[in-house]
């Protein structure tokens, strides 16, 4: 009877020691965390809980349709200053490139053609040059960037936003000087 016991014991000893060590480690960390929480030593713990609670409450409140006042479904009536604005901004000013009068809401598309930039303008001009330039731009035509270079958390300062070769030299791309 003693022989089987000894065998059992020696095979159990390593695992016995292991679980003992593991228990010690767990109790060590747990008792420290418990002490900090019980004595309120970490001010952040309560603050973090408070923030989580506030966010949860906020989501409930916002989901409730009876709480929406001014901006229901994104349709504004008046803004903070009592003003109202059209969907397409109608302030008129002069284009600084060509001098034409443009409505604010249509300024960007106008400027794109005016400066000779942009997809369509570039396609006309640079069809013969490298297609790689145009390819990069198609993949970027969206509200949220899909570029993997954003996954790198080390932003080197020389990095241009989407890795295209720098055009920094052409400040006067069409020969106009800035007044």
């Amino acid at each position: 009877m003693s022989v089987p016991n000894e065998e059992n014991l020696s095979s159990q000893l390593p695992s016995h020691f292991f679980w003992d060590l593991l228990d010690s480690i767990i109790v060590d960390v747990a008792s420290e965390c418990h002490r900090v929480a019980k004595l309120g030593l970490d001010a952040n713990l309560e603050e973090d809980d408070e923030e989580l609670k506030l966010s949860a409450q906020a989501r409930v409140r916002v989901a409730d349709p009876s709480n929406n006042s001014n901006e229901t479904n994104g349709k504004y009536v008046v803004d903070l200053f009592g003003q109202t604005h059209p969907t397409v901004a109608n302030e008129i000013f002069e284009c600084m490139n060509c001098g034409r009068s443009i409505a604010a809401g249509r300024f960007a598309p106008h400027l794109e053609k005016c400066m000779g930039k942009g997809r369509k303008a570039r396609l006309k001009v640079t069809r013969s040059s490298s297609g790689a330039q145009n390819q990069n731009r198609y993949s970027r035509g969206s509200s949220v960037s899909t570029h993997t270079n954003h996954s790198s958390n080390n932003s080197s300062m020389n990095r241009l936003a989407n890795g295209n070769p720098s055009f920094a030299g052409e400040e006067h791309s069409n020969g106009t000087t800035h007044p």
């Binding site: 989580l52 506030l54 916002v62 059209p86 901004a89 930039k117 942009g118 969206s142 791309s173």
Partner: protein, 434 residues
């Protein structure tokens, strides 16, 4: 827009009234004064609207959408209200007369940013069209110059990089690197990241430092689910909420690099499996956190947007993510630093702006929320409205802007203390630790 010199009563006391009630009060007061122009009017009124001075915070003004430019407007609104950045421009940090580029008749993006600040803080409450700025930015970033929806984060990086490139030269004489450059982009936004790569064969740790303009965070979805031991299925996504602190934990967690990413170990003299851990050595006065809301499937070659809600706090303590804390934890010392040394003050941040996105990758809309004098405002292109905290907390954040708490304690909400003399150096504390 008809202006009038009637002074509205102090409406900024936020009592128990709802937003709707306050708006009704305001409308009753102004309704008698023909406020709405017909669309044919093109007047620009030189008379300052006194309402601006008494009721509303300075710098609060709508930005006209010039054609899919909400990505630009939303970031501009946040930058317009970043305390040290705003103070620099409003106190004449970049004066038009002294600008070298201007005198040489060359374009200067920073002069144009200065112009935007002047216009936005002029007291005029009509929406402003940042056309000159757009033109200038397109001149400097030709690769992004196009009429299409773009990424706000990309614009943010592009703008600050351009400031550095232009300003970095004139200030130092030579292009400084991350630690030395004193351009306003660096002084306000740049921090220092530390990367520790541990060789899993010999234990040798190689440390590198890199400057950062902002921190891009992956959402902490899979991790919170894996902890529960469940498989990642759609039904489980709602069980645990993603939090900003969770994302920061993920960011500073030791990451086992795959066997296809073996890094060269100096001691072993060969490539080995490695463990990489990030931490923050130096925190900037303005901390910008970018949430990566897109996932790319290499199999399907598709990208899609992740609309998952991310909880974010208004008060943020970055201490656990500092290099000093990470190192301490790595070596088993879990005792908290109750003493509270100097660097603590520079680790506590307060939120002041959020850029939110709604829609898909291909088509969507950006809206900013900014907090002025403890009141939140929604900036949706030309539309500025008051919102309550809950709206902001429940929004889908894309970029979150925090500023060091110490910057708010300096009565920076009241801008009357800023002198108009140029060349005044604004003191910006830079946290240094570890």
């Amino acid at each position: 827009m008809a202006k009038h010199s009637m002074v509205l009563p102090q409406g900024s006391a936020i009592g128990n009234e709802s937003i709707g009630q306050r708006l009704i009060k305001r409308r009753r007061l102004v309704s008698g004064v023909g406020l709405y122009l017909n669309s044919k009017s093109k007047f620009s009124f030189p008379i300052k609207d006194l309402r601006g001075k008494t009721c509303f915070p300075e710098g609060l003004r709508g930005l006209n959408n010039l054609g899919s430019t909400c990505f630009m407007n939303s970031v501009l609104q946040a930058l317009l209200h970043a305390p040290p950045f705003r103070d620099y421009f409003l106190s004449g940090g970049h004066s038009l007369e002294d600008c070298k580029r201007r005198t040489m008749n060359r374009l200067c993006l920073i002069c144009d940013i200065n112009a935007v600040f002047s216009a936005m803080y002029s007291g005029d409450r009509n929406p402003y069209s940042p056309a000159q700025f757009l033109y200038s930015w397109w001149q400097h970033s030709a690769n992004l110059a196009s009429y299409e929806q773009q990424d706000a984060h990309e614009f943010f990086i592009s703008m600050l990089n351009t400031i550095h490139e232009k300003e970095g030269i004139t200030r130092n004489g030579s292009k400084g690197n991350g630690g030395d450059c004193q351009c306003i982009a660096h002084r306000v936004f740049y921090g220092l990241l530390r990367s520790d790569v541990t060789c899993m064969a010999c234990g040798f740790i190689s440390t590198t430092y890199d400057p950062f303009l902002d921190i891009s965070l992956n959402l902490d979805i899979n991790n919170s689910l894996r902890e529960k031991g469940k498989k990642v299925t759609k039904s489980n996504e709602d069980d645990s909420m993603s939090t900003l602190l969770g994302c920061l934990d993920l960011f500073t967690r030791p990451e086992k690099l795959g066997s296809d990413q073996k890094l060269y170990c100096q001691k072993c003299q060969e490539r080995q499996n490695s463990l990489k851990q990030m931490s923050i050595t130096k925190l900037p006065p303005v901390l910008t956190l970018h949430v990566k809301r897109f996932e790319h499937s290499f199999v399907k070659k598709l990208s899609r947007k992740i609309d998952r809600y991310l909880q974010f706090p208004f008060s943020l303590d970055m201490t656990p993510y500092l290099s000093s804390s990470i190192l301490r934890a790595r070596y088993g010392n879990r005792i908290f630093n109750f003493g509270g040394n100097e660097s603590d003050a520079f680790s506590k941040f307060e939120i002041f702006a959020v850029v939110t996105h709604s829609g898909t990758l291909e088509s969507g809309h950006y809206v900013s929320f900014v907090r002025l004098r403890k009141q939140w405002y929604r900036c949706d292109d030309a539309w500025i409205t008051e919102v309550d905290e809950a709206t902001v907390r429940a929004s889908q954040c894309y970029m979150i802007f925090y500023a060091q708490k110490t910057l708010f304690n300096n009565a920076s909400e009241d801008l009357s203390h800023l002198p108009n003399s140029p060349g005044r150096e604004v003191f910006i504390p830079i946290a240094g630790c570890c």
